[in-house]
Amino acid sequence: MIDFNKIREDFPILQEKVYGKSLVYLDNGATTQKPKQVIDAITDCYLRYNSNIHRGVHYLSNKATDEHESAREIVRSFIGAASSKEVIFTAGTTESVNLVANSFGEKFISEGDEIIVSEMEHHSNIVPWQLLCERKGAVLKVLPFNEAGELLVEELDSLITEKTKLLCVNHVSNALGTVNPVKEIVEKVRSRGVKVLVDAAQSIQHIKVDVQDIDCDFLVFSAHKLYAPTGVGVLYGKEALLDEMPPWQGGGEMIESVSFEKTTFNELPFKFEAGTPNYVGNIALGAAIKYLEEIGIDNISAYEEDLLSYATEKLTSIPGMRIYGQAKNKASLISFLIDDIHPYDLGTLLDKMGIAVRTGTHCAETVMQHYDIPGTIRASFAFYNTKEEVDILYEGLMKICKIFGKLK
């Protein structure tokens, strides 16, 4: 049995005080805090073996290269990829999506082709596709969701035409918490020749993600939402597809040989990793995954599920509470509004109580447009959050309701 309260000791920042109060950090959807094990991995690299990878003949460079490539292997095994050639390190989810939009887009998208995105995507899984469609004269189509915040998957049947090349969908919505049935979606579109990109930025830290089980063509996520450093991300792609795709950014590391007459490119995964990678960050991502695997993703899922149902029940009891995202299958976040109190007002007052939540549109304006609201408050939970913290959030919200109640 895992002692989830003890886990808090692994995260030094959770002992911080804000405005003299104990920090209640419920903004894990924006970024997660880092355990000592990850911070130590970064320090260890700089203290003991920092050196540029893949090029030196010397000891340090070889050590750094080994650590870097073993981090890639840790990622491969974590997401169940067939080969480490399918794991490309990027700067984050956004860069991963942009890589696909530019490289896959360059080769496979032509005028009149169609790309489908869901109505509940983060801007980073909309805008790169809009830019691509503009460049190529392609068409962007939208897969809608219902009031509960569940995708209308059956509408894919009519949405897909022989022109549809790609479908981009998140595994978990950052604004609603919905866990989308990505495996079912892939199954549905596979026979129609549509490739699928899954944005796992909000799922990889909560539930088991297996790319071979989902059978998606691409999967992207950020390390900083997975208890690892910022500036690191992953693009998974099926090897055969990645092989066919042209390089996106040019530079060192991604080439085989360079001459002014003809440059040939390195093989996967290096073809897509131009320049010195964030090797310290990538190594620390490996450390984060090792840490999570010791606890067990399934244990984390179960704990967070329990915390979510506790929080949902507690918050629902607040008069005037409206929860956006009531899907049957949800990850551990709650997006809400109370009466007509502006999310900015709620967020400002919660902050003063030492409670960190996200307010606004969460970079998902199309979701807010769907419900015709200016934004929401989002409390997003990690496995180091506790029921006591949910109680503090509840008490804080009740206090705010009292202030606003007096005005009526």
Binding site: I341, H342, L349, K352, G360, P374, K406, L407
Partner: protein
Amino acid sequence: MTINDIQDEIVSEFAIFDDWMDKYAYIIELGSEMPSLDNKYQTEDNLIRGCQSKVWFHAEHKDGKVIFEADSDAIITKGIAALLIRVFSNQTAQDIVDSDLHFIDEIGLTQHLSPTRSNGLLSMVKQIKIYALAFSKL
């Protein structure tokens, strides 16, 4: 009263609150008491762009004084706008241009002044000064 007198008055009013909650409750009260800005002034032109809440500012030059009106969809923002209006409205354009804003700091709302807070306070002050500068050239 001069701009400085009003600022001092606000500072002494806030001095009685030793709890931040009371301070914000007061700002919320100010926001809810301030009349709404006429719909015809809630235009794109009058919108001050903050990331999370909308703020509209309208200014008129009347009998040598600048008259400000404002509104916001967030009540705390509207309350802060009410304080700014109390300080700057009904003053001469030149006095507003020459003024030095110190009460925000003294009542403990400095955090709202940071340009990264995206609550529009800094933009509101900037807009007030721009209006005043324009009127002072008339």
